[in-house]
């Protein structure tokens, strides 16, 4: 349930933002608010991870998992990017030049 509320707020935020396009000052304040909210939330995540012994004891295993997932996600994206580059971008560029 929380997640749908969050998505709803996110979309609402985008629509509110559309009305603030030319308000430079407000935009700067909003970006600052984004940073502070992220600082707070990651700080809180840090605390709850710090008091969680399961996570602390398995930290190297968690890091290893994270690394493998990064390699997987990167390999997939990069290989597909090469395919579309060859078929849709490289040719097009040669035609233009």
């Amino acid at each position: 349930m929380t997640s749908y509320i969050v998505i709803g707020l996110f979309i609402a935020g985008i629509f509110i933002g559309r009305q603030l396009k030319n308000k430079e000052k407000t935009r700067k304040r909003v970006d600052k608010a984004v940073n502070y909210a992220i600082y707070l939330l990651l700080f809180l995540l840090g605390i709850s991870v710090g008091i969680n012994e399961d996570i602390i004891q398995n930290f190297s295993r968690i890091g290893y998992k994270a690394l493998l997932l990064t390699i997987g996600a990167l390999a997939g994206s990069i290989l597909l990017a090469k395919v579309i580059y060859i078929f849709f971008f490289k040719k097009y560029q040669e035609k233009e030049s």
């Binding site: 997640s3 396009k21 608010a33 940073n35 997932l69 390999a75 090469k82």
Partner: protein, 200 residues
Amino acid sequence: MKGSLIILSFFVAGLLGGLSNIFPDWLLNDDLTTYALYFLMIVVGISIGSDANAFSVLRKMNIRVLLVPLVVIIGSLAGAALVAIFLSDITIQQAMAVGAGFGYYSLSSIFISKLSGDELGVVALLSNIFREIFTLLLMPLLVRYFGKLAGIASGGATSMDTTLPVIVKFSGKEYGVIAIFSGIILTILVPVLVTFILEI
């Protein structure tokens, strides 16, 4: 990069404080994180929505360019899912949610820890930080061996800000616009896809 270090230092400060148990219990009240997350999502939305530049870039794009974020989504999710098959302690669904962070580690880790527990949140935090670091370090090799879109694909959601300078440097200015376009689309999709993947 400086911004990333500041963000990380908040996480580490919390971590160290938590380890030595110096914080009062009310800080860990679940409602506090929930409301902070609500607030974050509204302001992130406003920040994206009010970026006039971003929306004009979106309007100018054609279908060919739309392929770029599309292959990042397919490649990241499929690649992470494939890795999960070989790991005993993570489900394919969880792995795909981590992959759907597209390098946007701050938001994705917060989101995932809320939806799926702190442990997966930490996996998402580390994995997506690695994604940004690899992209910054490997850019010249990526472009040389996998073409000019490879760096943009590797950067994922970060190709609109933190990794944009290196992308422009190695792929050229004309690819900067594609990088911003792809980064914006992926940034908007991070919370949507993570929710979708974890809640089905």
